[in-house]
Amino acid sequence: MIKSVSKIPPGFREITEASGFAAANGPWFEKIEGRRVWRGFLPGPQHANALGIVHGGMLAAFLDSALGSVVWRAIDRRCVTLRLTLDYLSPARVGDWLEATGELVGQDEHMVHVRGRLYGPRHDVLGGLGDFALLSTRRQIPVRS
């Protein structure tokens, strides 16, 4: 495990409040700078498909969650995914540190549009565009991971 820990870049903190799916497929890490956020994880064999590369479903789940965090940090609003469009650009290898981030490209009182990317040490892995519905500011929900 020492070897794995050393692959986590400085500034990333493990998300410890994860539960359910996120916990079962973690640990996931987060770096926050002002209103920007980066998420990262180190894929292991449990994230791989039969080819030994990271499963597309795992990449999708991770980017989706990262984009939710991007919205939360940018405008202090919780949201749920309405639509996610993903382009699988190149495979990601087990053991390579993967990172995801995104930016808001449009917003009104009910929805935000977010552009995101997930990348490894060599190249972009996944490009994404997400439409998220903003939850009411009065609604209390647990931290989304």
Binding site: T81, L84, D87
Partner: protein, 164 residues
């Protein structure tokens, strides 16, 4: 952990076939499949029981789980429908999260082939709980030339990755 109690005709899919480490499909599971008569809606159906480890903190089925299963239905199910027995890498997927699902729900996934070209397979995928649709997805998968990655080769490639 609640009992999976799969619907009639569903058999658990063994993705690992004796590999030492479980792959993602096993890790997120259990996943089941049912084969029906050719040309019918139930020619290939994937199913699973929503367990707590598949959920988000709000107690609903996690979007990541829905997407993972839809991806599989598009490639494995879509490939089965057109008679391709090779690994089809996903090129693009679009997901619409139309309704939530909760712990204990039995979720089924079906693919519909939109068009098959020499190098691409276009499918629509729905995940349902009973009669209700919870996820609509649209998928484009690559059909590799030649044999592509067959599953036997895939296993070898994975072992090489593990040892490197």
């Amino acid at each position: 952990m609640i009992d999976d109690n799969p619907s009639e005709g569903f058999i658990r899919i063994d993705f690992d076939r004796g590999r030492p480490d479980p792959t993602f499909n096993t890790h997120i599971g259990n996943l089941y499949a049912k084969r029906g008569e050719k040309g019918t809606r139930d020619e290939f159906v994937m199913g699973f029981r929503v367990q707590p480890h598949m959920c988000n903190p709000a107690g609903g089925l996690h979007g990541g789980m829905m997407m993972s299963v839809a991806d599989l239905v598009g490639t494995m199910g879509g490939g089965t429908l057109v008679g391709l027995r090779k690994f089809l890498p996903t090129v693009n997927m679009t997901f619409d999260f139309v309704a939530p699902a909760k712990v204990g729900d039995w979720v089924e996934g079906r693919a519909e082939v939109v068009r098959q070209t020499r190098s691409l397979l276009f499918t629509n995928i729905y995940l349902t709980v009973g009669e209700e649709k919870i996820l609509r997805a649209s998928s484009i998968a690559k059909i590799p030339s030649g044999d592509g990655f067959t599953f036997a080769k895939a296993r070898l490639a994975r072992e090489e990755t593990a040892s490197s």
